[in-house]
Amino acid sequence: MTNATPSAPQPEPVPTITVKINGQSVAVPKTQPHPVTGQMMPTTMIQACELARVEVPHYCYHAKLPVAGNCRMCLVEYGTPALGPDRKPLVNPDGTPVIAKAPNPAISCATPVSPGMEIYTETANVKSIRKAILEFLLINHPLDCPICDQAGECKLQEYSSEYGQAKSQFAEFKVHKPKQVDLGPRILLDNERCILCTRCIRFTRDIVKDDVLGIVNRGGHNAIATYPGTAFDNNYTLNTVDICPVGALTSKDFRFQMRVWFLKETKSLCASCATGCNVVIGSREGRIYRYVPRENDAVNAGWMCDAGRLNYRWIGREDRLKQCLIRQDGAPRPASWKDALAAICARLQSATAGSVAIVASARQTNEELFLLQKIATQLKAVTDSIPRVGAGDSLLVNADKNPNSNGARWLGIAPAELGANLPRVAAGIAKGEIKTLLVLGEEMTRHFGAETLRKLDALIVSDILPNATVSLAHFVLPGCAPAEKRGTFTNARGQVQKFMSAVTPPGEARPELEFLREILAGIGGGEVPGNVEAVFDWMAQVTPAYQGLTWAALGDKGLAAAPTGANQV
């Protein structure tokens, strides 16, 4: 996908042309890449207005989709420099060019700009056009706002109150269309609310290449439908819910769950694969209600896959690990953090060099892996993490299901091929050379078998949900989901991105960084700064791959790391 390519070699600089928007001169590039084909296309009036930060209301135009030009909401007036009979520009007595105002308004989303063009977005005529368009759009609109999931983030509501009029002159009955139409496993359509902007059709046809949506019936009975015998069921369907400017396409997952104005928005990352799509988590009172993609052209454009978007329910599960456990006389007993960490540190400190192994997870943050690496150095422990491979696709989904495999590699936790050290660890345990195993967030019985793990003197496990490894562990430390902590991941392309915590962890669960630094201090590895920012900055200073990065400089969209040498893939 072209608009998600991070730093493709820059083509030669595009010439700029100067246009005037509401009297303000702005220089805009003459051409811009087409959102789907990448081919250079003339800059349109709406793009020029966007660059000049002048709002032009629009429905069908979407910066990441091909232009359709069907809603007419973006109509503006414009003029071009007038030419004399000699084809030379006419000039006013004061030296300014004479502008010939176009007789009719034009849709700004599909009209290219030309040198010297003047665009007027706030004239009385434009205002009355917007009023009229909105009145037309509302003729058959159900005004379902109280039961519509889009209310609060609906462009029809917003533009109606900003540019529309309070009264309708329409006296006839509204056309009724099918409501609650099942388009596919995750999408429910309300045809009465649809304004037929075709964004959903263009998205699935041009971005996903799954051409199943279309418009059926005529005139006022126009409706969105799937091609007969097919369902709207690809891995990107829920993006249409985001780009639908109204509440026509609704997510079955989020439908009637919570009103959007209650949701606290937290900038975060999807942790379901190595792409690391930027997301906004919507939560209220400690419960997560939805993930929506956040725009980042270096990573995910403005999209995310359905599987990643819906992979959040487990965070609120009742059976989350909520307290530390220490095994005594064969049974796990609740313990305080203080006692558990003291016991673990004592165990690790008394271990002979080489008798400890660490299996980290490539789902952990860079900062946590950095501290683990320090712990490993202190204990002369062998480390690795677990590869997690699934199906990928050509749009966003990466076959590597770990969000931070590159972090694990570049911080020296895992070899270039994740998991290559594991047979050595298993053999070490079997031979009795490795007596202590520190496992973070991985189900080790799947890789080593329960019998091998039972041979250990000490199995120290930090995890989020109960599993077979947790039930075998001598020490259990409850950890956090990415949505509950802050940190950074390094994605498949080497983009280092940070995420913020949306909800608080349940019970006594703590972000891993907090207890890892206490373990490091407890085994004589020295004091580590107490916050994520400082750990990141320190890590960036001493790790070649992250050289030059700082937490503050990462911003919302992250920065590219410079991988070095053998570990690069």
């Binding site: 039961i147 439908r255 769950q257």
Partner: protein
């Protein structure tokens, strides 16, 4: 500021004149018309427009009018209202009613009877009624749930009848 206390005069130190004056007021009120209401045996008839406790109403065809839009929850200044939205699974028992609250609670200990919920409600589903004396033996008794609110609210003669015309 320092206030100087003047010593009492002889007349003031006698006290008796003040006591007698007090008795006079008491005796005068013995023979006046009584203003005290014998509450709770005797109840106050509230004037029209009085804002008492907010309750939910049903329309004349026994449908719950509230659509769980949560505007009242949003506007309520003391956060007395807590609504549980229905979620995506339609309730077949409700016919064509697309959305309604799964649970609706008003904490009457928090409610300040301001009437914002009634004013903001787009469905005319909640009204401040005439009840001003709410009692309960525990805090949790004072959190009225949907069933109780609907029972107390009764039927509202509705002109919108949203779902009838859907």
């Amino acid at each position: 500021m320092i206030v100087k206390r003047k010593p009492l005069t002889f007349w003031e130190r006698l006290y008796l004149p003040a006591v007698i004056y007090g008795f006079k007021v008491t005796v005068r009120h013995f023979f006046k018309k009584k203003v005290t209401m014998q509450y709770p045996e005797e109840k106050w008839a509230v004037p029209a427009g009085y804002r008492g406790a907010p309750y939910l109403v049903k329309d004349q065809e026994d449908r719950v009018k509230c659509v769980s839009c949560q505007l009242c929850e949003f506007v309520c200044p003391p956060k007395a209202i807590k609504i549980t939205p229905p979620g995506p699974v339609p309730n077949a028992a409700l016919g064509n009613v697309e959305k309604g609250p799964k649970e609706f609670e008003i904490n009457m200990l928090r409610c300040i009877f301001c009437g914002f919920c009634q004013e903001v409600c787009p469905e005319e589903a909640i009204f401040l009624m005439k009840d001003y004396s709410l009692v309960g033996l525990a805090r949790k008794d004072m959190i009225y749930n949907k069933q109780k609110l609907l029972e107390l609210g009764g039927t509202h003669n509705d002109t919108i009848q949203k779902w009838k015309h859907k």
